[in-house]
Symmetry: C2
Subunit: 261 residues, 2 copies
Amino acid sequence: MSDSTGITAETLGSALLANFPGVGFRRHTIPFVDTAEGAANVVREIAAADAEGLAPIVFTTTKDAVVSRVLAEAPATRIDLLGGHLTELEATLGTTASEQLGQYHTVGDTETYFARMRAIEYAIEHDDGQSSRALDLADVIVIAPSRCGKTPTTMYLALQYGLLVANYPLTDDDFPTDGLPPMVAPYTSRCFGLTTTPLRLSQVRHERRPDSRYASLAQCSLELRRAEDLYRRNRVPFLNSSTKSVEEISAVILQTLKLRN
Amino acid sequence: MSDSTGITAETLGSALLANFPGVGFRRHTIPFVDTAEGAANVVREIAAADAEGLAPIVFTTTKDAVVSRVLAEAPATRIDLLGGHLTELEATLGTTASEQLGQYHTVGDTETYFARMRAIEYAIEHDDGQSSRALDLADVIVIAPSRCGKTPTTMYLALQYGLLVANYPLTDDDFPTDGLPPMVAPYTSRCFGLTTTPLRLSQVRHERRPDSRYASLAQCSLELRRAEDLYRRNRVPFLNSSTKSVEEISAVILQTLKLRN
């Protein structure tokens, strides 16, 4: 439950629950609860879940005293994700927290908004090697054979970090020579390669084109071996994406290319 | 500091710091710290900041006892974002937290991965009304005049929630009739409209095409008035995006169309 978007509560709540893989959880996010009436609705919903025999746990990020007081009546374990830490920070900083709500995940300044919008449009324009326009401005160029996770990684980096990210597919045509494909070769230092396991790649490609040569284990093995050779020869850092989430791949790229903060 | 991607620490740390708008912070995220050696490097970095006269505050999500012990030597206020809450959850659930690291923001099951990848590809294919293929499968169709925030919102919903989201631009051609544009009219119940203020729209359009008719205040006012009329006539829920972040707009759409959890 949150007085704003619920993203912080959802992220931390999910991170906490992930520590209890043996327990089954039903999840429900309730954003924008910032009045006593809204809180009373949440209490009713919790009471209904309790009556169903569930054991409600509420992760809350609300700072509002009225909302908190109403919520205290709910038959639930309440976990206050911000309150205690705010008190710690107040002590450290020697100042009190602002009373205003929802300063995070709000629009921010216009320049930041433009930068983020530009990043997303850049990522769409430069998906799958479609455009070389302004490629010199790219912060990152993700290269990999088809279906190794280029596009999701590109979009995540653009959306979450406002970076200009292009991606370029490595196809059979790119392997006869020693160098990187001519379009991206001038920007080798900003390239990051993805690879995966042949089995995983074959599985993902079957999803797109079942029983094709493209999806065959032999073809996948060949393309991945050639791609890794290409990365090594050109000193392009790379990562095996097979057991990694988009968030993890992105975090490694940010760290490797020193793009974080 | 995190033993995994750092996303949870970054999200909650930023949410906490947003409560102290009067204080200047320098931020640094250090992901993948999961050894005593890695922790010792962090301690050295903190000591250097301390020596510079800064007052280091460490937000940590690590559960590893060895890493925590090393980190305890750093001259910093340490805020443990998970530890205390895990103890509360252990008490409530009557079970102990798993010892494994980094279960959250990891790849998850294959089906979830495919769904997310499909959602991102669907969003790219259906950006700006480019395709009507499989439009009947859309969970959401975002409609708005040019530059009201359709594309970032679409990408965010696809990436974070794995939803199939299309977006469709309202242009002068769409206003003479009473109904929604023919391409999206069959899916009115899944449409969500965006609007903004004429001043904001004019500002954003000037960024793309300075001093054009397209960016003029008169043209922006006209298009927004017509768009809002269209939303109202067709009972399409809509939101003024001018003071909202992509996260907030997305949270409202999820709630309005009942797509969350």
